[in-house]
Amino acid sequence: MTPKGRHAAGWWALIIPALLLMTAFYIAPILQVLAISVTEPQPGLGNYERLFTSESVQRVIGTTLRIGVITTAIALLLGYVLAYRIAMSGPKAQRWWLLAVLVPLWISVLVRAFAWVTLLRRQGLVNQGLLATGVIDQPLALVWNELGIVIGMVHYMVPYAVLPMLSSMREIDPRVLTAARGLGAGRIRTFLRVFLPLSLPGLIAAGVLVFIFSLGFYITPALLGGGKTLMVAEWIKLQILDLIRWGLGAMMATVLVVAILATLAVLSRLVNLRRLFGAGS
């Protein structure tokens, strides 16, 4: 080992205490729980067989993926527009915009879910407003279904979509956009050919972040789904706490973890993840 290498190894040793702590109190219990998926109720892959045989298991996974994709798409679209607006405004306006984006993050997700319920339920503000103005004559089913879940989740996810996209947009040299127009590209073409490709890393990062969050989301779907639309996290809780089927719950948890790791693995082949999430460049 070169002297420089030994030096580097010395620095790495500093993280050993933290690593041990994480292993003992976090990783080990998780592995233990995951192990239950192949030991309960009897040893074997019986729980995993359900992935292919049980319609209800498949339905839960299908619902989760569908809601995850829809949420991600809408959150990215809204977040992109918002991030674009912020990136294009002056430094002072940027601070206010950013504050407005971040404030929701400081409010408990529980409070926000209930706030949506009051807004969206049959006698809620939205329905009453629409009824009063005569736009509709029957209250719309806005909550306790997939629509409610998507609304609540998008609201939660938009800040997470904005931040990586904004940081990526801020790295774009504004002179490049001026150059595009000076060379004959109109506003739309400048956006499509220059701005969009240059902000793509942020878009992908935001997409990954939001999609992964969506897959394991619990509180919002539990409250706004009204128990009728089940997503993976709530289904796991149901299996373990209500039905005491630890094996099945742990199996689904394992599937969730593997799905997330697989998403990251595929993506790391496509783009530089370390760079995406801001670790060095």
Binding site: V176, G184, P197
Partner: protein, 368 residues
């Protein structure tokens, strides 16, 4: 790229104000077809604002911009068909060199074959054909600059606008690229409009220089004219260095004579009378050896001196005319310089020129 004749541009009484701040005040300028014009001035002089108004990124508050007599004041930048090299080049980092150069052709919807041929020709022109598939980040500063040039010229633009094209390069490379830029201008025969704060660059590149200060266009002319016959104190001071001698003038046989206290300075040119400011270049003053004489002779002592490679830069303290800066080639200096050494300075009567004070002279704490 065939040597198509360039296009003529004219600015007619153009002003730009941002609230109370006047960026450009009543500037009129004619750029003839095929000319290399440089807008020269210190930072904040309005030179970039003028370029941006020509390019269409900044709309004039007053006045018109004409291309070959056609009013283009309201035309957006993408429809002006001007090539532009931006400060820091502004290459598209996600595209290869060839894609960068192809960009203006792509947005103009040229066919693939024609596009490829033009891109190759443009890269040939700047000797970068071997780098077509590289990304801009893999190129040196000088190479990036050439890509920016190729990209700006590939679509046969009516005008080429250059915004401080060489400012990001080190001194030696800058000199090299100056040569290339000049050669390129001769080869493509197009109208070039360049912005710089570097007076040497302006002098060596341009057919014409327009000097700006505090938003005013002060003088436009060939580099020699501007250097030899500066119109105002600012021009004389900004373009090269200058001594200034102020006094009362009266006509005499060969031009006029300027009196300042006990001193008399003779100068050629149109006879004039009254308060006059003379500009005298440091390199037009000689150190007179024993017994020699000149039209103007002033005695003094060397206050300070430094060796600058190409010669000596002296500051001579004279009782009559104050401090005078002198620049001498090393082989032309009859004494070895030392502080306090008494010397006699001499210059011909056609060495100095009368200059005016500037309009909108620097206000203390004024616009930067």
């Amino acid at each position: 790229m065939s040597a198509v004749a360039g296009h003529a541009l004219s600015l007619q009484r153009v002003s730009k104000r941002y609230g109370d701040f006047v960026a450009v005040q009543d500037a009129s300028l004619e750029v003839a077809s095929g000319q290399f014009l440089t807008l020269l001035g210190p930072s904040g002089s309005g030179k970039t604002t003028i370029l941006m108004m020509i390019a269409g990124f900044v709309e004039p508050t007053e006045g018109r911009v004409l291309l070959d007599g056609r009013d283009i004041t309201a035309l957006p930048p993408e429809r002006r068909d001007f090539g532009m090299v931006f400060q820091g080049y502004a290459l598209f980092p996600h595209m290869t060199v060839a894609e960068n150069v192809a960009f203006p052709l792509r947005v103009r919807k040229l066919g693939r074959a024609e596009r490829d041929a033009k891109v190759r020709a443009a890269l040939d022109l700047v000797q970068l054909d071997r780098f077509a598939e590289r990304k801009p980040s893999q190129l040196s500063g000088g190479q990036q600059q050439r890509v920016a040039l190729a990209r700006a010229l590939v679509f046969d633009p009516a005008l080429l606008l250059l915004d401080e094209p060489l400012s990001a390069l080190d001194k030696k490379l800058r000199a090299e690229l100056q040569e290339e830029l000049k050669a390129l201008h001769r080869r493509v025969g197009r109208t070039f409009i360049n912005v710089t704060h570097d007076q040497e660059e302006a002098l060596s590149l341009s057919d014409e220089i327009a000097i700006l200060n505090h938003g005013h266009l002060i003088q436009v002319g060939a580099p020699e004219t501007l250097y030899e016959r500066p119109a105002t104190r600012f021009v004389a001071d900004f373009l090269g260095k200058s001594n200034f001698i102020e006094g009362e003038a009266e006509a005499d046989a060969g031009g006029f004579v300027l009196r300042r206290g006990a001193a008399r300075v003779v100068a050629s040119g149109a006879p004039r009378a009254g308060r006059t400011l003379l500009s005298l270049r440091p390199e037009k003053i000689a150190l007179l050896p024993e017994g020699a004489t000149e039209d103007n002779v002033v005695e003094g002592r060397i206050a300070s001196w430094s060796y600058v490679g190409t010669g000596y830069a002296l500051t001579v303290m004279t009782p009559d005319l104050g401090n005078i800066r002198v620049h001498l080639p090393a082989w032309r200096i009859p004494v070895s310089p030392a502080e306090g050494l008494p010397v006699r300075l001499g210059w011909a009567r056609d060495a100095a020129v009368a200059v005016a004070e500037d309009p909108g002279s620097p206000v203390p704490g004024g616009v930067a």
